[in-house]
């Protein structure tokens, strides 16, 4: 139980979860024989005993808001926009391909189609904008915030303000948030905060966490898995993942997401330290160039990445990350 951090002790829900939480998978399991994965690398799977875990990301957030049931989306013109917004969340590749430059779908980072507390729910964001963002040093509308998702997380092109895609995503967000007071501190917004790790995040430890908990889905090389030309498990790094400007490229943001949401269906089963380490491992890999590239990796780091949560422009595992030249020209995906 030494994984319980003092700040969590304030939350009575934590006891309900952690009393049932066994030791972390890595410590609890004798590894079974290595399996030859299809991607060429041997992956050692933990054996049969499952980790105890929370049912979903909401549990440690203190969220009390329940968004409406999708079955209650109205059957009218407004409802059509809401439904389109929901479809874009689940199948971005199908419903907004002209703005997408990688293999991801919104739902990969917004569990339950953007309805789940602790998984960056759209209702939490909707009641928090307009807001000042240090990312671009100005007050952003909600719609501008959505543009950022396409430009960075989807490594794509921002849809125009007022475009069908952004109108639909706003309609869906508004519909999800109905009844929720405007409040940028609403419980359940974003990913649940985490304390700084006890030990500085580490690539080698992170690799071990990755191979034991993540690789069966996302593959040892991080490229995810594709079936019948549809992405089942999203790529976490490499050409088809989010670019260096995305929020998920922050080690801290990624650690928060992973701790609350991964492995799928096993929320809060990793220790916070494991989440930090595996976030470091994921973000210590190469990915598409930051679209705000300033002509050199050093200048881009100085302007946009000069903080300890970004590995851009630093050397990790012998690679100067981000040193891949100017951003590739955008070509939208075909539907």
């Amino acid at each position: 139980m030494n994984r319980v951090k003092p700040y969590f002790l304030l939350n009575p829900l934590v006891y309900a979860v952690l009393l049932g939480v066994s030791a972390p998978i890595l410590a609890a399991e004798a590894p079974s024989a290595p399996h030859a994965a299809h991607d060429g690398a041997a992956v050692t799977l933990p054996s049969a005993t499952p980790a105890k875990s929370a049912p979903n990301a909401a549990l440690l957030t203190g969220a009390t808001f329940t968004p409406p049931d999708p079955a209650s989306i109205p059957n009218d013109e407004f409802g059509k926009a809401v439904q389109l917004g929901r479809n874009i969340m689940y199948e971005t590749q199908k419903y907004a391909p002209q703005y997408v430059g990688n293999s991801l779908n919104c739902v990969n980072c917004h569990t339950d189609g953007g309805a789940m507390a602790g998984s960056a729910p759209l209702w939490g964001a909707w009641v928090s904008y307009p807001a000042y963002r240090s990312k671009n040093h100005k007050v952003n509308t909600y719609e501008e915030r959505l543009q950022g998702c396409f430009r960075f997380s989807m490594n794509g092109k921002a849809p125009a303000l007022g475009s069908d895609v952004l109108v639909a995503l706003q309609a869906y967000s508004y519909w999800l948030a109905k009844g929720l007071p405007v409040d940028e501190k609403v419980a359940g917004r974003g990913y649940p905060d985490m304390p700084e790790p006890a030990k500085a995040p580490d690539f080698v430890r992170g690799k071990a966490v990755y191979e034991a908990n993540c690789a069966i889905c996302h593959a040892a090389n991080g490229a995810g898995r594709v079936v019948n030309n549809e992405v089942v498990f999203p790529p976490l790094w490499g050409a088809q993942s989010f670019n260096w400007g995305a929020g998920m490229g922050s080690i801290k943001n990624a650690a928060k997401f992973i701790y609350a949401n991964m492995p799928y269906g096993q929320s809060y089963s990793l220790t916070p330290q494991q989440a930090w380490d595996v976030a470091y491992y994921m973000n210590g890999q190469e990915r598409p160039q930051d679209p705000r590239y300033e002509g050199s990796v050093a200048a881009t780091r100085a302007k946009y990445h000069d903080n300890k949560n970004s590995l851009y422009g630093t050397t990790v595992n012998g690679v100067l990350l981000g040193d891949t030249g100017v951003p590739k020209p955008f070509k939208g995906n075909k539907s």
């Binding site: 994965a37 799977l45 049969a48 979903n56 889905c217 898995r225 594709v226 050409a239």
Partner: protein
């Protein structure tokens, strides 16, 4: 094409299946014991709750045989079948059944629309309030599976699928990577289990997409 079009559909299906089995390797002698219950083509016998083996990932079949032998997966018949097999025989059988084509599952018995709707909800979207992710989030759209760790969940009978979820819940079946199925199944009610089994059993996937559909890599 005209003469074919007047063939009764089941006969046509059987003919195609027979033809494609002929195109594959001859069954190894060891498969004779399997065929008694799972059928000559490995299509299973839904009425008796014997699952389809044809087209399942080879690694998955091999692992299950190992799990039966060591008791990780409990089944009175299969433990006796699996125990005497050598590793080489397991590989042989796994590769053989993985190579066989998949026939269409039998038409599902009539199921209450409410139950099917709940099953579809769970398969496509899950029920995250209860901590149940969508089946298709890991087993791919249509439940065709993602080799080698996530087997196909279409083309099996409702009874077999429901039995497996009950076994994941109780721990009678283990060996799921990282305990993923135990986590999910433990959060499902018996109605959920029946609903999703009925929905999946009623799906009619194209045979071509089963078994060897997956490739690794993020590229579209």
């Amino acid at each position: 094409m005209r003469p074919m079009s007047i063939l009764p559909i089941p006969l046509l299906g059987a003919g195609l299946l027979f033809a494609s089995i002929l195109a594959h390797a001859a069954p190894p002698p060891e498969a004779a014991s399997c065929a008694a219950c799972h059928g000559a083509g490995g299509q299973g016998l839904p009425a008796a709750n014997y699952p389809r083996l044809a087209g399942l990932p080879a690694q998955y079949i091999a692992e299950q045989l190992k799990y039966f032998a060591e008791g990780t997966r409990q089944n009175a018949i299969m433990v006796g079948m699996a125990k005497p097999l050598t590793p080489a025989q397991i590989t042989l059988l796994a590769d053989y059944y993985a190579s066989l084509p998949v026939a269409m599952p039998a038409a599902a018995a009539s199921v209450a629309p409410d139950l099917l709707a709940r099953g579809q909800q769970l398969a496509e979207f899950g029920d995250w309030k209860a901590g149940i992710p969508a089946c298709f989030r890991c087993h791919a759209a249509g439940g065709v599976g993602v080799p080698p760790y996530f087997p196909p969940i279409v083309g099996q009978s409702a009874k077999y699928l429901a039995d497996q979820m009950t076994a994941w819940q109780s721990g009678a079946r283990k060996g799921d990577p990282q305990g993923l199925m135990h986590s999910v199944a433990s959060r499902m009610t018996s109605t959920d289990t029946q609903a999703v089994a009925a929905y999946l059993a009623a799906l009619k996937p194209a045979a071509a997409v089963l078994g060897n559909a997956a490739q690794t890599g993020g590229a579209k």
